[in-house]
Symmetry: D2
Subunit: 339 residues, 4 copies
Amino acid sequence: MKKLKLGVIGTGRIGKVHISTLAQNVPQAEVIAIADTNLDSANEVAKAFGIANVYSNYKDVITNPEVEAVVICSPTDTHAQYIIEVAKAGKHIFCEKPVDLSLQVIQGALNAVQKAGVKLMVGFNRRFDPNFLKIKQLVEESKIGDPHILKITSRDPAPPPAEYSAVSGGMFMDMTIHDFDMARYIVGSEVTEVFTNAAVLVDPEIGKAGDVDTAIITLTFANGAIGVIDNSRKAVYGYDQRVEIFGSKGMACADNNYPENHRYFAADGVHGSLPLNFFMERYLEAYANEMKIFCLAVINDQPLPVSGDDGLKSVAIALAAKKSYLEHRPVKLSEILSM
Amino acid sequence: MKKLKLGVIGTGRIGKVHISTLAQNVPQAEVIAIADTNLDSANEVAKAFGIANVYSNYKDVITNPEVEAVVICSPTDTHAQYIIEVAKAGKHIFCEKPVDLSLQVIQGALNAVQKAGVKLMVGFNRRFDPNFLKIKQLVEESKIGDPHILKITSRDPAPPPAEYSAVSGGMFMDMTIHDFDMARYIVGSEVTEVFTNAAVLVDPEIGKAGDVDTAIITLTFANGAIGVIDNSRKAVYGYDQRVEIFGSKGMACADNNYPENHRYFAADGVHGSLPLNFFMERYLEAYANEMKIFCLAVINDQPLPVSGDDGLKSVAIALAAKKSYLEHRPVKLSEILSM
Amino acid sequence: MKKLKLGVIGTGRIGKVHISTLAQNVPQAEVIAIADTNLDSANEVAKAFGIANVYSNYKDVITNPEVEAVVICSPTDTHAQYIIEVAKAGKHIFCEKPVDLSLQVIQGALNAVQKAGVKLMVGFNRRFDPNFLKIKQLVEESKIGDPHILKITSRDPAPPPAEYSAVSGGMFMDMTIHDFDMARYIVGSEVTEVFTNAAVLVDPEIGKAGDVDTAIITLTFANGAIGVIDNSRKAVYGYDQRVEIFGSKGMACADNNYPENHRYFAADGVHGSLPLNFFMERYLEAYANEMKIFCLAVINDQPLPVSGDDGLKSVAIALAAKKSYLEHRPVKLSEILSM
Amino acid sequence: MKKLKLGVIGTGRIGKVHISTLAQNVPQAEVIAIADTNLDSANEVAKAFGIANVYSNYKDVITNPEVEAVVICSPTDTHAQYIIEVAKAGKHIFCEKPVDLSLQVIQGALNAVQKAGVKLMVGFNRRFDPNFLKIKQLVEESKIGDPHILKITSRDPAPPPAEYSAVSGGMFMDMTIHDFDMARYIVGSEVTEVFTNAAVLVDPEIGKAGDVDTAIITLTFANGAIGVIDNSRKAVYGYDQRVEIFGSKGMACADNNYPENHRYFAADGVHGSLPLNFFMERYLEAYANEMKIFCLAVINDQPLPVSGDDGLKSVAIALAAKKSYLEHRPVKLSEILSM
């Protein structure tokens, strides 16, 4: 079997997820080089997964002549630069979301990718979750008819540290961005307007850091459909990830995943387990599918299912959501995209 | 058993529901007089339920000396006037929603009720549905903690005739009004602001009549919670009535009701029956509970669970929702209530 | 509307259920006479439902010339005699299960009914439950294909007093008899053999009274299908009534009914309400359907859906189940029916 | 990380499952040698998973000095002999079920294992399924109270070739044996008696081969509980694997697993996907857990959760079930174990 030789930049939480997935679930891939400014972390990962080349400087991953594709898992503010460098080296790129917090910077990176003629895929892993794939399939088979109403519930089990907001760009940029991509993906149409109703209800520190922790975001789509996303940074019962699409011919909904499916009937009620609590468990299969598809598409020179433009659009919607919140009015995407 | 002697004005669809409920499920009540401008309809109902006095003029119900309380099921534009007349006659009142399309007219009626010292209950039957009662109970027992996000899905199986919009005041006033009341009831706090994203996706005729048929309405509550209602005039799979409340300590949701609970496993999938399709089946128990509670409260001189103010507030929110839609901006309730 | 004039013998628990159902849910019926050896009980019921004629002697119900049909709700050991007397009076009969504990006595009653040319229906109310009706419908529509395996779970919330066993004929005769009828009804074929594995696990007093409280009963049907019933006298979580039928083309199952359908997600798990606990709530609709069908069939001179033979067969299976338990071996129905 | 070096005998279907699981999901293990009389099959597997040593003779796996433990996946009639040879070589053993069709032969193998002081685990993978683990946990935590009724539903999606029965020992020995082990595991008590009601309803060829394809098997346990297993060789809707345990304090049940958890509401009903159809998908996690536990217990010299005696007892119950079917009477386990 031809194996794609990969380098990974960044061995933090999401970096480890991808390296582990590539090692255990993607037989078509081989991670041969990794880099992290924290060399201890990188060495530990290398040892666990038998990776030969470990660097503290990301450039060494890019220039390693055996590396055919690079997976970028470093902090957001390095994504665009690294994309440009990898593209110039003529290698294919998988980049975590968001590509950047600035549309101009993203556009610059996408231009570099296009010029170099390499492939770029952005890490919207949820598109590859079996539940949401099934919903998408029903939409594509016209089982829903014309989409009228999209509903996404996306709640995290616990908020990140309040100071994280400054780095991440805030809840809309680090968390809801997945939902913005899911919205475009499921409805199959561009978002044209956003209205955000948000609040600080979980932790006042988040508000002091200039962010929100609870939100209801209304969307308007180019095809006439309307949608709503509700977010919370803290669902005490676990990770809550649901999608519902309603249309002229029917409705489809995807529920959460559970560690097992027992029910216990006692004198005081009927009881069951909580949904899977951690994004890595919940999206284990999605991460594996995502990396498999990326590797196979690169190996077979086929188009990638998530484009650089998808990365740019989700950031634009996040910017519109933030602007709508700050200015307390509906904001058109064209206001953002024309800036 | 002391029985409350009731008169009913209006023997159309909802009038028949109440008369039938009172006859079959409320042993504390006895309908002794009914009126409808369509005397044939009234006579038919009287015959079916053994009601002695049938009138074409509603005044005869009010003045019948034996009638202790009047149930008003006539068209919306007569509600306020009838309330005033019944109040002046010193009799108790159950009035269908909405009380009126004008806040001033409603206020006039409420003033008359207060002056007369009679009881008035407005027909928000869904408050008495076992599913929603359970959700309310969990909120009141602090099982949810502080409410953060409220979600109501409310979709009808089929739209009314397009011309109905003109009479009814439109979707927000004839359909969403139930959801506005439910929102206030579940969250236990007043709505302070509304933003409406609505569209005509079901039937262009509805749009020509100046109404919408699909909507997502974002709510802000005085206690800081936020909420969203989604509506459609046409769900091909039946009557879709769900509520979800999410808070600091947990989440509770109520699903639809079904005619039975079988599942059928065949080679092509797992299949089940559709939700109950008709509001009278879905809310059968709610209607019975509502009338029982009204009659018992009147008999025992106790407070009623739905007040005239509840009737006024839901109309105010509907007006705000309409204004938000027309002006494409968030609308504060204070703008409406101060008009 | 032509109303069937009914008399009811016995105003204990099940008698009250039928009288209340007839009064509130069967507009085609009118109970005009009732009898109970406990005249106080009968008077109370008469007052509540406005019944004119109250007797302490059941014969007065039968001989009341206005009574067209008699509902027999007296103790089991009087059923056969009353059936014979009502039949001789030329009136139609609804009789609670079991008809009697002796096949010979039952046969004598059925002969009297046949000779008199009156109608007789036995009270297997569960056949008219919406869940089981749906399962039966799927079988009749050949959606299941050839039936292979039938499974019935039937567990009571709490055992009757231990001394009841002596009167009732024991668990197989007072409780499982419903499941035996359901088995024949769903599979649409006669039971030919029974093997009983039973135990006293709930209460030793039940064992001392010569009865069992827990059982798994294997059935063989004439059409080749096999089946199993599991029973307990005490399910701490409520009334557990489920049916599953598996065949060559699919499987259908019916779950329990619940008072409402909420789910509550808290930090310690997902919780829901217990199934309906009381047979009158669980089978409210079934009782109403049963009486409606009986009255309409009598009024319109149509065949009844549960025959005297159905009453006899279920008793025969109960006798076989008891014999199998006592002799610890599979027992053929032919052994019982030829006795 | 210390890795356990394993050899695998037999690279058929189940052999491949274990090799793949060990390679991808058990980082503590390394398969270094495999053997199959079909050397082409073995070579293909070796190539896919990078295994160095491939043999046609199983003895070469056993004698390979680096091999520390042997996984036996060869045909049933070789299991006992291979166990004895591996034990004599002083290596640990994982053996697929059933150990053998003869209790005497099994006992001989267990004696050899005991004499050699090596570890032996029998492949009852379902004990490691998350659903059934949860049920077992609830029993062990006394959440069920005293167990009264156990119900296992176990239906295959399609029958094996009719000629397979001769080799496998028939349905009770190749399929129900898992359920017999599950019954002992969940109830935590020995089976003392069996009654089998079985039939040929799926395919007459199976009957001609002397086997059955549909069965209901009643069990009695030493602790007083009773149980029932229902089996079919052909469930058109997929692999049906459920467990329910009912006791003095409550009831717990585990449902099937599904590929995803969507629901689709259309005008003709509510639809969902079929359960996972293939045992490798359904029990993927169970196989991984099983192998992980085996390897870790060997590495850390800890006791194994499934013993040789568990392997023997399940075969004894299968023999009792067959005898009960043939002699049409309840059969005590003591009849079998004393033979």
